[in-house]
Amino acid sequence: MTADGGPELVQLLTPEGERVHHPEYDVDLTDEQLRGLYRDLVLVRRVDSEATALQRQGELGLWAQCIGQEAAQVGSGRALLPGDFAFPTYREHGVAWARGVQPLQLLGLFRGVTNGGWDPHEHNMALYTIVIGDQTLHAVGYAMGMQRDGSSDATICYFGDGATSQGDVNEAFVFSAVYNAPVVFFCQNNQWAISEPLERQTRIPLYRRADGFGFPGVRVDGNDVLAVLAVTSAALQAAREGQGPTLIEAFTYRMGAHTTSDDPTRYRVSADLEAWKLKDPIERLRVYLARNGWADHDYFEAVDAEAEAMAVHLREGCRSMPNPEKTSMFDHVYAAPHPLVDAERAEFAAYHASFAGGEH
């Protein structure tokens, strides 16, 4: 396995910001749309860095950084139509952004005030799923439901290189293949599953796994937002047209730690990080825009200013996010009344009411 993704890598924008052509995949975007993608990438990175800072300040218990993977997430997220449904892991902040989830809503889970944070039906995006790979089966089931509804929408599910070892992911491949479900499997191969390198998960390139399941697999430069957009759009279109699933391997790199609790200096060398910095997803688009005169210094300054303002909003919103009501843990355990939960809620309330002042 080659460190640069090899010759099969679909790329439309080189790390140096050169627009290149691919025989199979292309995008035709206006300069306004290109600027929009650039803005997405910058704002998502700013959300990520602010959340990381908030964790360091003790405002969040944990944060799973997406730095380095913004193009994979924004490019695929922007390929979705409103009726499509996305199933994320816990790192898809860029996808959430593209689906209209407010950045502040992402923080609740990591601050510990909720296990969810948004209405999945409002954004057509499932809640973050922490158990590795579980959501791939949900995406296939949802896609089977779309088939039965006669819908022309599709689902997309996100997972990492580590998840490809999970049974559920492989079962999702099987189910989607035999039912020809309209689902796109979007694997962000960021080279690391916490401390374990890709070589601990596979001995063939991940996109080639699709062969064994009987559907197409494609490896795309995950740091190239244009290529990701093109490849994902094509896969979604194939799903809509009844051609079933596609596995996309977005070849990228986890620039940060696994989470804020992780210490990558124990298991990987800094030279790798330096090499990947040269392939940064934002920088190449910036160069491309500037070189063609589609964005100038003022535009970039304005995006940076917007990012800063959003960071301030995020910081303030996070710090003022209230703790949930104590008895809320008993809410929604079941959809219909359950006598044990009701009894324990009453006992809990009575216990707390028994203290002087009423509240313990």
Partner: protein, 327 residues
Amino acid sequence: MAATTMAKAINAGLRKALENDPKVLLMGEDIGKLGGVFRVTDGLQKDFGEDRVIDSPLAESGIVGTAVGLAMRGFRPVVEIQFDGFVFPAFDQIVTQVAKHNARSAGRTPMPITIRIPYGGGIGAVEHHSESPEAYFAHTAGLRVISPSNPVDAFVMVQQAIACPDPVIFFEPKRRYWDKADVDESIDIASAPSPFRARVVRPGSSITVACYGPMVRTVLEAATAAAADGTDIEVIDLRTISPLDVETVAASVRRTGRLVVVHEAPVFLGLGAELAARITEQCFYSLEAPVIRVGGYHTPYPPSRLEEDYLPDLDRVLDGVDRALAF
């Protein structure tokens, strides 16, 4: 009204659910043309089509995991796990996803999924085909766990499970699949007794025996035998394990003063332990004896030539009753 087996009663209940709600789907291994290994889904694929009665790949986690997605899309999946001992590949999806989606989403993605599991021993089967894993599921908040003991309850309760907005693990006592009773298929499930309440199936005054699923028939037979010796056993069919209807048991124990809990599942940390604790708390001054538990041992389910010695039978139930009455 013809006498109907429990297997056929469940089949009739599934058919009604499929007829009444176009969002109901059945999924499982071999449930289509074969009609399931116990024929519980016999004929349903022929009548409702392959899109609604779905033969699945041989992967239990896949079955339950895709059911989660179908439920998010607004369907009401009814999945069959072929045997009790094969549910464990799906355990992660059941515990981390099915059980928790409603709470995680603050009620926005409820999981109206029914997971049917033939369970229990007594059919001379090979390993993994005779287990009683209900306690694992009852321990998890978000799941409901019920088990019918007879064809009438099976017909009604399977429909009630499907109509329930919460996930229900529906344990079918496989050795009672061939028990027969008259089943009135015109029963309206909305006005039928709640599946989440226990039922006194034999009133008595000497002692209370609580049981569920396959053990109800065994305990009723024991009660008949005991009556000849002058012991009047009150038999409670719990029907539901989560929620657990402690109230009905407590009301009985306050009259009889004694309780024996019988299940096939291992005694240690089983339902009997929970019931013993709660009855001790609630009926302390009414109890004449400690709560006695009769059940499986802390061993793997034994080879079938030994299962008669593992499973509670009439004699072991009566032994438990005698021990309680000895105080």
